[in-house]
């Protein structure tokens, strides 16, 4: 394995790799600085675990969105679909349904949205922004039609599933009363990481994934190379929908309740994660590992803001905006310089 990676080194970093490396680098620098300067929670592994626990569904959604964005599209329905899934599954579980069926419902809702949106975008050639905007409206509306009030999932098997957590004593820490609090990772995180790995493999080693890159890089060329662009695009939205469904279930496992305002603004957080991770909206460039670290960076900055005593409620999103601005400008400058270099 090592030899192979050394061999690969021969090639200069591609845009994808370069942007991703920058993001990962900045994340680690940020985290280490937080450990040194702020200490406190950042010194415990649990801080990282919490970040993952809280954002497992966001990571999954971002994975799907990254696929769509690499293909040169956009899907802003992801947050709403997640929310709809959460509510539907909560209601279904409360009506006494089975655990497996609830999972199937989650996947089914995601696939249904992916199917319809993908069809409209790829085969009827309607602008993706409009289609997924309508999808977002529809999902949000359906969520409130299902229930305006929060629905706590009172389901035995589900509660048992929620309770299943990975506990690692070695990464725990001593609470003030001296008890050992083991490092806790929720199942959702495992699902999220599996999703990241699967999407990574899909994009790297599966024909469909490479076709998505080709399509995003130059649609006309992709067509000329004999790629079925319509089907490829359709599949990208289908996968994004599917992952939104999965994210919904993970969200429900995390919160245990459905709420009309669930996952509000998640689509924009997902887009931000993807962008910070080095995915370009123009398509053809991006990587799901970058997106994963994009989500973590986004979360870390919020945690840092809270820990450093900027308690006023506006600071979190202002710093998030600032960070987004920084990354967007960085990308613009880095890619701009590269383009110039290539020319001469």
């Amino acid at each position: 394995m090592r030899k192979l990676s050394l061999l690969k080194r021969k090639e200069p970093l591609s845009d994808t790799q370069l942007l991703m490396t920058i993001t990962i680098g900045i994340f680690f620098v940020m985290y280490i600085l937080a450990m040194i300067l702020l200490g406190g929670g950042f010194l415990h592994a649990q801080q990282l675990f919490d970040m993952l626990n809280d954002n497992a569904s966001l990571i999954i959604v971002s994975c799907g969105l990254t696929i769509v964005m690499i293909g040169g599209g956009i899907d802003i329905s992801v947050g709403a679909v997640t929310s709809l899934t959460v509510m539907s599954c909560a209601l279904y579980l409360n009506s006494g349904g089975s655990l497996i069926a609830s999972m199937l419902i989650a996947i089914g809702i995601g696939l249904a949205f992916g199917l319809v949106q993908g069809f409209l975008i790829s085969y009827l050639e309607i602008q993706p922004f409009i289609v997924t905007l309508a999808g977002m409206f529809f999902a949000r509306g359906m969520t409130t039609i299902l229930s305006v009030n929060p629905q706590k999932a009172n389901h035995k098997a589900f509660a048992a599933l929620r309770e299943k957590k990975i506990k690692i004593d070695a990464l725990g820490y001593r609470a003030k009363n001296g008890n050992l609090v083991p490092g806790t990772i929720e199942i959702g995180v495992v699902v999220a990481i599996v999703c990241v790995i699967l999407v990574f493999l899909l994009l790297k080693n599966i024909r469909l994934g490479r076709n998505i890159y080709a399509m995003g890089g130059n649609q006309q060329s992709a067509l000329m190379l004999g790629i079925n662009v319509k089907r490829t695009r359709f599949m990208s939205y289908l996968i994004s929908g599917l992952l939104s469904g999965v994210a919904g279930y993970v969200f429900l496992m995390h919160t245990g309740a459905g709420n009309a305002t669930n996952a509000a603004g998640m689509e924009m957080n997902a887009i931000a994660s993807a962008i910070i991770g080095g995915t370009l909206l123009t398509g053809g460039v991006g990587n799901v590992i970058g997106t994963f670290f994009g989500t973590l960076s986004l979360t870390t900055i919020k945690k840092i803001v809270v820990s450093s005593g900027l308690n006023a409620p506006w600071w979190q999103s202002i710093t998030t905006g600032g960070m987004l601005c920084f990354f967007i400008l960085l990308q613009s400058v880095v890619l701009g310089r590269r383009a110039k270099k290539k020319k001469t």
């Binding site: 021969k10 090639e11 591609s14 845009d15 994808t16 994934g209 080709a214 004999g226 053809g284």
Partner: protein, 499 residues
């Protein structure tokens, strides 16, 4: 007709709204031959190719490969049936690696075995002598190499018919030779190659047979060795040679006045190396050289189209600062860009709006040209330049290439420029319009307008220009006037044969 017919196309028809692009065209390709498909722009070459590769669906006729009648529904379909194409503009994905570009979009399992593909790609690249690594990003290769990768892809697909559409237009001499070696190599393996180009020398160097199209119809099929170059040209343009030289005989090249209009010293831009240049009032001069020799970049620097990095400029004897196009326009300079689609027309706007654009810009944002005024301008120039359009409100994108070019010419003429730079104004337009444009240039010069004319066709420049500036490798290597203005001398200077 003893040879085995690899590909036969019979009575191919293709209709576009309002145009019959192909009218009962026959084409035959034999195994192991290089067959040049010739014709002026608009003759139907690219339409025929696109029918063959499934980009367009034909309206009538039949296609047979190895005697078997086939229908081609899409580019992918064509590939699967052994017909591969390498287009003029690169149609690969720059954001993927060389190996991926060679294997993507082809049948195979869902799982991409990257290592194996890279090994196979490397083997093939070495065999064909293509200087690229399989793991390299395609975007980091030169255009020539990208083109060769496209050919390698076709070769690996075991194509029977390989179509090369203007493959040499962006290559230098050495790269062209390498490409020809590759073509001969493939020919010896029994591949039938359709070679589309506008370089006549190359046709004679490499092809075995020539098919000529004109106005969407077949003129004929000839063995290359039996068709002299001059005859080929007259078959392509459908005019006798005397007619061609008509312009040169009747129009006397006027010697311009001695007054210098524009003068640049050490002018350079982000894309052009420093050069000196001057033009007198009413003079027609030209930049010549191969594609990529820096001729376009130089005139772009004059117009301020690229970032100007240095040099002093004098217009009418007074120092001038021309850093952006608007500066040049204010000094009475107009520029017709090389790439009409990308830099010229605003496709979705009407003919009228396209014509008044430059004048409007010069008037400024706050002095809009009134509707009735702009209509009068448009009508005037549609008549003067004989622009064929349904109405002045027709989107310019729906006009033919020649008429689009005339609209842009009208745009600049409307500003009443003192100096007009025309970069390849005759590219991709029919012969009739070409002559019209050449005449117009001479007429403008008579009226005292300075013109710089660039054309790939040296003959055209010899007919219009009284002075030629020759460029090679981004440097000015010579200046020809008077009796030096002849094809041989120009070619010699371009090729570097001057003393």
């Amino acid at each position: 007709m003893q040879e085995e017919c690899l590909l036969t196309m019979r009575r191919i028809d293709k209709r576009f709204p309002g145009v019959l692009a192909l009218n009962g065209v026959d084409f035959t390709l034999r195994a192991g031959e290089i067959h040049a498909l010739m014709g002026e722009n608009g003759a139907g070459k690219s339409t025929l190719i696109k029918v063959l590769t499934g980009v367009y669906q034909m309206d009538g006729g039949e296609i047979r490969v190895e005697g078997e009648r086939i229908a081609i529904h899409s580019p992918q379909d064509a590939q699967n049936k052994g017909i591969s194409t390498v287009y003029q503009e690169i149609t690969l994905c720059p954001n993927l690696t060389v190996a991926e570009n060679m294997f993507i979009g082809r049948d195979g399992g869902a799982w991409v075995r990257q290592r194996e593909l890279e090994r196979r790609a490397d083997a093939l690249l070495t065999r064909l002598g293509i200087p690229a690594r399989s793991t390299q990003l395609l975007g980091s290769c030169s255009l020539a190499v990208q083109q060769m990768v496209a050919i390698a892809r076709a070769v690996d697909m075991k194509c029977k018919v390989l179509i090369l559409d203007e493959p040499t237009s962006s290559l230098d001499e050495k790269e062209v030779q390498r490409l020809f070696d590759l073509m001969r190599d493939l020919k010896s393996r029994g591949v039938g190659i359709i070679f589309v180009t506008h370089f006549l020398d190359q046709v004679y160097e490499v092809s075995d047979r020539i098919t000529v199209l004109r106005n969407g119809e077949l003129v004929g099929e000839y063995l290359t060795e039996e068709l002299p170059q001059l005859q080929l040209v007259s078959k392509m343009i459908g005019k006798e040679l005397e007619e061609l030289s008509y312009l040169g005989e009747t129009e006397e090249k006027k010697t311009a006045s001695a007054e210098t209009f524009y003068e640049a010293e050490g002018l350079s831009s982000s894309d052009a190396l420093p050069f000196d240049f001057s033009i007198r009032k009413g003079e027609v001069n030209g930049f010549t050289g191969l594609l990529g020799s820096g001729r376009s970049e130089s005139v772009r620097a004059i117009f301020g189209a690229d970032k100007v990095t240095g040099g002093t400029v004098r217009v009418n004897g007074k120092p001038a600062k021309i850093l952006r196009p608007i500066d040049a326009m204010k000094h009475g300079i107009g520029y017709l860009a090389e790439d009409r689609k990308r830099d010229g027309i605003i496709a979705e706007l009407s003919v009228r709006e396209n014509i008044i654009l430059a004048l409007q810009v010069m008037n400024g944002m706050f002095r809009p040209i009134s509707r009735s005024e702009s209509e009068a301008f448009a009508d005037e120039y549609i008549k003067v330049l004989n622009i064929k359009t349904a109405s002045r409100e027709t989107p310019v994108g729906s006009l033919s290439g020649g008429n689009q070019q005339k609209v842009i010419l009208a745009r600049w003429l409307l500003t009443h420029p003192d100096y007009l730079i025309l970069d390849e104004p005759t590219r991709g337009i029919d012969v009739g319009t070409k002559l019209e444009i050449q005449k117009l240039v001479l007429k403008l010069a008579e009226e005292g307008v300075s013109v710089t004319f660039i054309s790939s066709e040296v003959e055209e420049m010899l007919r219009t220009c009284s002075r030629l500036i020759v460029m090679r490798d981004r440097h000015v290597v010579g200046e020809l006037t008077g009796k030096d203005l002849n094809q041989t001398q120009v070619m010699k200077t371009i090729a570097g044969g001057e003393a």
